[in-house]
Symmetry: C2
Subunit: 206 residues, 2 copies
């Protein structure tokens, strides 16, 4: 089965499976089942089996999945059995938080550069990063071969920054700016939109 | 059909439909179809029709959906035809960003309080908010009747903060701390985990 045949909605569930498996490894567990994974994630066991079956045979009927094996397989499928370098654009509150974020470690990503347009910020340091001038962003990203970026600029700058990132060869963008951005079809975008997450929960409020 | 019968995964798609509809309103559009919504969102038209049919009849075969009507219905279903007050815990980079975030407006939520444990931060202002002592958080939240919170503390404090929020009556938590937290079954949690979003895109990287 080729990549384009697997629906994106299935791909979107794999990182959730991976996170649950990683947690089980930390708990010292060795074997799990689609039932247990499903209960932890609020996804049906049948759905999980169907999703995983698209990529091969990862467990035997009745014996369940080897947690570490399945984790390693998912890391390979998601191409995070390596480290992808990330550029952060925008050195405001969110940019600072992303440059310092501890949650990327061992999960396939590492921030390597941060850009801003504010002369007062350019040249200053966040952890080990010197904030670089966004005017040089396109060149730098192209030279470094960076494929992943996180955009944390004000809404009004986001689309222009994204256009430049795309020209520089970036293929995956995590957008924190409170605006929907457009990209060519071969460039993936995920939108961090706290209001959407909150709305998913307000349904249940009493 | 009662609430508990509608799968959470369906509820989770409603805010995406709402966001797409809101965008169409901004574009000056009046009528849409499940096909068009599906194309914008990468979800099948059949899935969208099936999801919406769980809540009633929102369009007629062949004439499509009135965008504003469907938007208003979704806002009612998601209980955001009102404004929910939010408490932010943690006045670091992310807490600052959330207190200043412009994306909640008209989407059902409003930050009304921010708490931290750092004596250097307590009493300082972010926009119009005075950062309050987390030691008073439980009382304040209870008195104000706040049901929604966003946790942006370091990982090591997050579970303790969440336990206090739950005792104070909070029912929905958006967690930015890089750790999975536990809550009773009646308290909803959404986890903002940038690595998971990135992993969903790295599958497609070349």
């Amino acid at each position: 089965m080729t990549k384009t045949e697997i629906p994106d909605i299935v791909i979107g569930r794999l990182p959730l499976y991976l996170r649950a498996l990683q947690r089980m490894v930390q708990e010292g567990r060795q074997v799990t089942s689609s039932q247990e994974l499903g209960e932890r994630l609020g996804i049906s066991a049948a759905q999980i089996r169907k999703d995983l079956s698209q990529f091969g045979e990862f467990g035997k009927q009745g014996t369940g999945y080897s947690i570490e094996f399945l984790r390693d397989q998912l890391r390979q499928i998601l191409k995070i059995d390596r480290v992808w370098e990330i550029a952060v654009v925008g050195a405001g509150d969110v940019g600072h938080a992303l440059a310092r974020y501890q949650g990327f470690r061992d999960r396939g990503f590492e921030v390597v550069a941060i850009f801003d347009s504010d002369p007062k910020k350019i040249g200053k340091k966040i952890n080990n990063f010197v904030i670089q001038d966004v005017a040089n962003m396109k060149d730098k990203i192209q030279k470094m071969g960076i494929k992943v970026a996180m955009v944390a600029t004000p809404a009004s700058f986001a689309q222009d920054v994204v256009d430049q990132l795309v020209e520089a060869g970036v293929q995956a963008i995590l957008n924190y700016a409170p605006i929907q951005i457009s990209t060519p079809q071969n460039v993936r975008v995920q939108f961090i939109d706290p209001a959407t997450h909150l709305q998913r929960m307000s349904y249940y409020l009493e």
